[in-house]
């Protein structure tokens, strides 16, 4: 197994990471990084830490070395080398992370997720308009991993706030059975690509063949998350098995459109090294004055299942006052 951090791997150019990724040999884990510059999305850190933790769980030793790049202190502060078990060859003074980033965090159960969300709020140091979509995505994606992935190392998450672009990047990774194995329990899918396509559609979950889900799962978490990225004109990626779905940014001259079928979104599917697990990356840029409720309303309009007898129940719901 080889993980090489390129000089740049964000959601718009994450395929650069895939070309340096070799997941075929599970007996060794070699970590390396670009010698001059490394600027990577939190999803890359979450995936790398998760792979390393899973590898060590099997009794392996991660080898490799850090390069003295200008961003090395950042990578150390994010906790990458702690989870790799590799000496970065440098020590740093840890500053308060408030409002800037959420370091790599391993979450293995419901209590740890709840605690992570409690810890998340002061870290965000942001108004509700900014904090709410992040808390929402965090909760939904980590719960997905904990409930469906069967990952023995749980989920890894981290996030970074970019003040210039007012963008927040979030990465979540697990080392579980992958979306294909989850979806094929109740659906007739043969490839990771088909399973990802299905998992991103509203009302379809790996826990039942019933459209709309069961009493515990609606099959909507991923659709909502992808929709939040779409409506905030940002990117989203979903990597599992040998396939990666990449949602492209909606250009400024167009209004963002929500689609139930991800094949109708501006997107690409990329062939990728076979990953045992699931990785989700998302960018959010939420402006001041933005109404999360309005965003959810738009998602609701795109969501509902269109049957012949379709009715509008909104007026029958008893809200008070």
């Amino acid at each position: 197994m080889k993980v090489f951090l390129p000089n740049s791997a964000n959601l718009q150019n994450i395929t650069g990471l895939l070309s340096g990724l070799d997941l075929s040999n599970s007996k060794t884990f070699d970590f390396s990084m670009h010698k001059k510059w490394v600027a990577v999305h939190p999803v890359v850190l979450a995936m790398t830490a998760c792979l390393a933790e899973k590898f060590r769980e099997g009794g392996g030793v991660v080898t490799g070395k850090a390069e003295n790049v200008p961003t090395l202190a950042y990578l150390i502060r994010m906790g990458l080398f702690k989870y790799l078990g590799v000496d970065p060859g440098k020590s740093i003074t840890e500053h308060e992370e408030s409002g800037r980033f959420i370091p790599l965090t391993q979450i293995q159960n419901n209590d740890e997720l709840k605690q992570a969300i409690v810890n998340l709020v002061p870290l965000l140091h942001a108004p509700a308009a900014v904090a709410d979509p992040i808390k929402y995505v965090f909760s939904e994606m980590v719960r997905n991993a904990l409930e469906h992935s069967q990952s023995t190392v749980g989920a890894f998450v981290c996030a970074q706030y970019y003040s210039e672009s007012k963008r927040i990047a979030i990465g979540i990774a697990d080392a579980g059975i992958g979306v294909l194995n989850t979806m094929r329990q109740h659906h007739d899918v043969q490839s990771s690509r088909a399973a990802i396509r299905l998992a991103l559609q509203p009302g379809i979950t790996g826990t039942t063949s019933r459209i709309g889900g069961n009493e515990f799962n609606a099959g909507a978490g991923l659709f909502f998350t992808k929709s939040i990225a779409t409506l905030s004109r940002n990117r989203f990626c979903f990597y599992s098995g040998d396939s990666m779905f990449r949602l492209m940014k909606t250009r400024k001259r167009y209004d963002p459109e929500l689609h139930a079928d991800p094949n109708d979104d501006p997107h690409s599917f990329v062939r990728a090294p076979l990953l045992k697990g699931t990785v989700v990356g998302i960018d959010l840029s939420i402006e001041q004055g933005f109404e999360f409720a309005a965003l959810l309303e738009a998602i609701r309009e795109a969501y509902f299942i269109d049957v012949k007898q379709k009715k509008n129940y909104a007026k029958k719901i008893r809200f008070s006052p």
């Binding site: 808390k135 007739d188 609606a218 978490g221 379709k310 909104a314």
Partner: protein, 139 residues
């Protein structure tokens, strides 16, 4: 019965286990008895769709539209209100969809035709239904 949601989940309702426990312990039994249930969201600023789904979706699906007469949602922030509306809509829609497919099944078996949803061919195993709703707002 009035249930103070803030006391159970705090300001962010996302714990599905807590929601499912509340559903089975309080909401479903009350609705079955025809008693009103008031869910007071005062102080809850954000909920996830998964949380509201675990809280009420199965009650709506098993009881049907009549459950809306007995459920009351109090002091909901706009976000909470939107999520509740979404869950109510798709829960009752999918109940109708299931009923529609169940009605179609004997006819389908008789004629040996593939199942259909919204006029589209549907996998016989009930899988991979294509649900497409595009809100086209291109300028």
């Amino acid at each position: 019965m009035k249930i103070n949601m803030f006391d159970i989940v705090g300001d962010f309702g996302e714990d599905k286990d807590a929601a499912a426990a509340l559903r089975e312990a309080d909401i479903r039994p009350s609705i079955r008895k025809g008693q009103r249930v008031c869910l007071d969201f005062d102080g809850v600023t954000l909920v996830t769709q998964s949380f509201i789904h675990a809280l009420i979706s199965d009650v709506l699906r098993t009881t049907g539209e009549a459950a809306l007469e007995l459920l009351e949602f109090e002091n909901c922030a706009n976000v909470v209100r939107g999520i509740i509306s979404t869950v109510v809509q798709y829960s009752l829609d999918s109940m109708l969809a299931s009923a529609s497919l169940a009605e179609e099944e004997p006819r389908r078996q008789k004629s040996n035709q593939p199942m259909r949803l919204n006029g589209k061919k549907k996998n016989v195993k009930g899988k991979a239904a294509k649900v497409r709703h595009t809100k086209s707002r291109r300028k």
